[in-house]
């Protein structure tokens, strides 16, 4: 086996694990994630951990021969969860894999309102090394509009305390809200970055169907920013982050050097991911394609199903077979979101299919227009064109 082949084989074995925690203290009006409102005192801490361990046991066979690449506790609001129960699950995941990468990245999402300093310390003790905090805004009026439970002061305190307890901290930020100005946004970013945060996800507010905002928008009762304003804020944020030394490494993500989210990069490299918990989605590849499963979305029903499940499919809501051609499509869709782009050979090694097959003319056209570049074996969309990325991806899809 040649050196590069060995690297590719190892690359294909890398598998991330996503654990979903399906409850929040409050449902935000813009959020279309699988989460249900639950009073913090009613959270079934132990039962949920037991259910996850049961699922891990049922899925043990599909973990065989794989290398654990990262773990991400998402939600929902995982910071509502008892750190001790989270640790039980975390340890079991580590133990289930034969092999684990060095310096394993373990992230947990949290909300400023449910993140106390002792909670952060508890998570750290449990093994979590990275916190991702849903700040969203530092403007109290905007926070109210977004239905958040915290205010500016609480958010800054939570982030700052997290940086004292955790090696790596990330904050989520949102732009494109009504009456938001470019100046307001950049001032908020300055304050946020002053806390010492290592990574920021800055998202454009997106109106999703099936949310309260979606419904209000449909009825014409929700103002949103004009597209021009979105675009202006997108570029203003990028400039500000650059001044602070954070690189724009994905459409909505900025990091100080070395602080990129490895878990999310693994998604964007179209890597394999394993999933546990209600509404969690996993996708595991093989020589002939890949299989994506989606678990029962409702937390309470997931608990019931886990109690009696005898095979993994008992927990699943649906399963989708991905052909090599579909996997290549996804590799394009995901890879072009990042500054590292689509690594043609790696994608081919993983999917068994040439990334250019069936799109030779379209890719040539995009290269000619400057929508795509090609260097070091990678196709990339220049970051100044990310604001129109979907159309570019569709043109080579």
């Amino acid at each position: 086996m040649s050196g590069s082949m060995a690297v590719e084989k190892a690359d294909q074995r890398l598998t991330s694990v996503y654990v979903h925690f399906p409850w929040c203290a409050r449902k935000c009006p813009y959020c279309d994630f699988a989460t249900v409102k639950m009073a913090p005192e009613a959270v079934p801490h132990v039962a949920y951990a037991d259910a996850l361990l049961r699922e891990l046991q049922l899925r043990q066979a599909s973990v065989e021969g794989r290398t654990l690449a990262s773990i991400f506790f998402g939600g929902g609001t995982p910071s509502l969860w008892d750190a001790h129960e989270l640790k039980r699950v975390l340890d079991a995941i580590r133990g289930a894999f034969d092999d684990v990468v060095d310096d394993l990245e373990i992230t947990a999402e949290s909300n400023p309102a449910s993140l106390t300093r002792s909670k952060a310390a508890g998570f750290r003790e449990a093994g979590v090394g990275r916190l991702s905090i849903g700040v969203q805004s530092l403007d109290d009026a905007k926070l109210k509009f977004l239905g958040r439970l915290h205010d500016r002061a609480g958010a800054l305190k939570a982030v700052h305390e997290a940086t004292l307890e955790m090696p790596r901290v990330s904050a989520d930020f949102m732009f494109g809200m009504p009456d938001q100005t470019v100046e307001g946004l950049t001032a908020d970013l300055d304050a946020m970055l002053a806390t010492g945060v290592h990574h920021v996800s800055a998202y454009a507010l997106t109106i999703e169907k099936g949310t309260l905002f979606g419904e209000l928008h449909r009825l014409g009762k929700l103002r949103t920013a004009r597209e021009e304003t979105y675009a202006e804020m997108f570029f203003a944020a990028e400039r500000r982050f650059a001044e602070h030394g954070l690189a724009h490494y994905e459409v909505s993500n900025y990091a100080r050097p070395g602080h990129e989210s490895r878990h999310n990069l693994h998604y964007w490299r179209a890597g394999d991911y394993f999933a546990l918990g209600a509404a969690a989605v996993g996708c595991l590849g093989s020589e002939s394609g890949a299989s994506r499963y989606r678990n029962e979305p409702l937390g309470t029903r997931y608990l019931e199903k886990a109690a009696s499940a005898v095979r993994p499919s008992d927990l699943e809501e649906s399963r989708e077979a991905l052909t090599p051609a579909t996997r290549v499509q996804e590799a394009w869709m995901l890879g072009l979101r990042t500054s590292e782009g689509v690594h043609a050979e790696r994608v081919q090694a993983r999917t068994g299919r040439d990334v250019l097959e069936g799109r030779e003319k379209e890719v040539a056209g995009a290269l000619e227009r400057g929508d795509l570049t090609f260097s070091d074996g990678r196709y990339r969309v220049p970051s100044e064109r990310w604001i129109r990325l979907d159309g570019i991806v569709a043109s080579v899809f």
């Binding site: 989605v281 499509q329 869709m333 899809f397």
Partner: protein, 600 residues
């Protein structure tokens, strides 16, 4: 397959208004004569093309040989020639009728005489056929044979001494119909020993056997191995196969006088099999050819272009092949500034146009952009010369007058809807010719209407104002001068030739404004601002602006979301297939048909 003497051959067609149950009845006849077993049964077996089955209409004529032992104990050979029911395909009906001595006129006993019933009867009378009216759908509770019989007698003037009620659905009455055919349809008259004369009434292309023809042998006999000559094209061939449909293709040694069947002769050049041609033997030629068919003249034209310009040769090839199956449409190369190389194609009507487009896409796997249909204008220049213009963008600058085609349109409708129909026809620049009561509550309204107005959504509007109760027949009346102007559409200042239209002067301003508005809703937003303008001559009469697309990126894309996001992109990609990029602007197919949907 046994042969029967000439006097026991019966060649007949089934004619009907669309949806009166012609194909279902034909299926039932196939079953009763034992031509198909229950196992082979498939609804509307005679509708050969996939498209025909889907739309539930017959487009191509077909001939099926059915052996039948009649009540007199003798075996007869019934040749059933199916015909299309839609007004666009009238020419196929008359071709089929030319191969027959009789016709079953199917009338829906729940409905009555409709526009196409009448039109088909006239075609059959022209061919001097014995017409046997049958009353279908008697299984339905709303069936009223007495009323419909009276209508047939009064409106059409046919004797209904022998009433033949039937149901294509249950098979009731089919036996009596077959006996009536045997009794009433005369056998063919033929010169049995004379030199061969066979009328080709349909032709199509088979990828293994080459061009094939459907024929009716009038005189003499056509056998496998014969050397033949086509009297009009002069082409000579050796006959490789002769056969009949039973309804399954079955080879026979020869086709005897009076018979209907097909032949193949390894004909490579598709232009050699001309529908209406007479086939004779090379060495024992007939003196005189049979009377052929009048060439049908396409009335509706549109441009057809490949979405991907590399596919131009494929499109040409597909049109060539399709033309053999359907000689009624014309095509010639055309170049558009906006759409590149393509073809200007002529059709008999809108349905015909749609069907050809669908067959091109389906059977030849092409992605096409088609322009809005246009009629043929007669344009007189100042030198008194007349030019036929079937592409609005080619309207000459210096002209004395423009004449447009008018149709006489006969609309059959229950009397409650007379007012609504008159209003619609008046709006469409129609001139009333008459109102006639077919029966107490059925009215025939006759109008002369510009064909261009009939093209623009007329039939759909008519159906909607009459709740689907109206039926319509039309024929060309002639040309009339009118105050017509060319309306141009400009995108970012460039005239898009494929969007030009010829409209009536009095309506041109509101029409231009409405079309610009409509286009604004159809053309997707682009990277840059796009201006849509309507112009008459050099005068801009309307402007709409499509704002530039400033943000087109999905904010979040992680593990759980990937499938959904991928499906959205797939959809977007499918949409792009249907777009043509003109200059730097992507224009969807729908935009080229926007003109048909404008209410002004």
């Amino acid at each position: 397959m046994s042969s029967v003497p000439l006097e026991r051959i019966r060649n007949f067609s089934i004619i009907a208004h669309i949806d009166h149950g012609k194909s279902t009845l034909a299926d039932r006849i196939l079953e009763v004569t034992g031509a198909i077993t229950q196992r082979e049964k498939k609804d509307q077996l005679l509708d050969r093309m996939e498209l025909e089955q889907e739309r539930g209409i017959t487009i191509k004529a077909q001939g099926v040989r059915l052996p039948y032992i009649a009540e007199d104990g003798l075996e007869y050979q019934l040749n059933l020639i199916d015909t299309p029911g839609h007004v666009d395909f009238t020419y196929e009906v008359s071709r089929s009728l030319a191969a027959c001595e009789g016709a079953l006129l199917v009338v829906d006993s729940t409905q009555g005489v409709e526009a196409q019933t009448l039109a088909n009867v006239y075609l059959a009378l022209e061919q001097d056929l014995e017409i046997i009216p049958v009353f279908n759908k008697v299984d339905l509770p709303s069936s009223d044979v007495d009323r419909v019989k009276r209508e047939v007698e009064e409106v059409i003037g046919l004797d209904c001494d022998e009433v033949l009620p039937c149901s294509g659905k249950t098979g009731e009455g089919v036996k009596a119909i077959l006996e009536a055919i045997v009794r009433r349809v005369p056998p063919p008259t033929a010169k049995v020993e004379g030199p061969l004369r066979a009328l080709m009434f349909d032709s199509w292309y088979d990828s293994y056997r080459g061009a094939m023809g459907m024929i009716r042998v009038v005189d003499g006999t056509l056998a496998k191995g014969d050397k033949i000559k086509m009297m009009a094209t002069g082409a000579e061939y050796d006959v490789g196969e002769v056969g009949v449909y039973t309804p399954f293709p079955t080879l026979v040694d020869k086709l005897e006088p009076g018979a209907v069947g097909f032949f193949a002769a390894s004909i490579k050049s598709i232009r050699d099999t001309k529908v209406g041609d007479t086939i004779t033997h090379l060495h024992n030629r007939a003196e005189e050819a049979l009377e052929g068919f009048q060439e049908v003249k396409p009335m509706v034209f549109c441009g057809i272009f490949p979405t991907d310009s590399d596919k131009y040769p494929d499109l040409r090839d597909a049109l060539d092949k399709l033309h053999l199956n359907d000689s009624a449409f014309l095509f010639e190369p055309e170049t558009s500034d906006a759409l590149g190389f393509g073809f200007r194609c002529g059709f008999l009507g809108l349905l015909h146009m749609e069907i050809v487009q669908e067959r091109l896409e389906r059977e030849y796997n092409l992605d096409l952009i088609t322009t809005a249909p246009s009629v043929v204008y007669n344009v007189y220049t100042r030198d008194g010369e007349m030019v036929e213009v079937e592409n609005p963008s080619r309207l000459p600058e210096h002209r004395e007058r423009i004449e447009e085609p008018y149709y006489t349109v006969a609309i059959h409708v229950p009397s409650d809807y007379v007012g609504a129909v008159i209003k619609l026809c008046q709006q469409r620049r129609g001139e009333q010719q008459g109102i006639q009561y077919a029966s107490q509550n059925r009215v025939i309204i006759t109008y002369e209407l510009p064909l261009a107005e009939v093209l623009f959504d007329f039939f759909d509007k008519l159906k909607s104002v009459t709740r689907g109760y109206a039926s319509m027949d039309y024929e060309l009346k002639g040309y009339r001068p009118n105050q017509l102007v060319r309306l141009d559409m400009l995108i970012n200042g460039d005239r898009i030739d494929a969007l030009s239209a010829i409209v009536h002067k009095t309506n041109s301003f509101p029409f231009g404004r409405a079309l610009a508005k409509k286009l604004k809703t159809i053309v997707p937003r682009q990277q840059y601002e796009v201006a849509i303008q309507a112009a008459i001559g050099s005068k801009i009469i309307a402007r709409e602006t499509i704002r530039a697309l400033r943000k087109d990126v999905t904010a979040k894309c992680y593990g759980g979301d990937i499938s959904r996001k991928r499906k959205l992109l797939e959809k977007q990609k499918e949409g792009k297939k249907r777009m043509k990029s003109v200059g730097s602007v992507n224009i969807p197919q729908e935009a080229f048909h926007a003109i048909l949907k404008v209410d002004a």
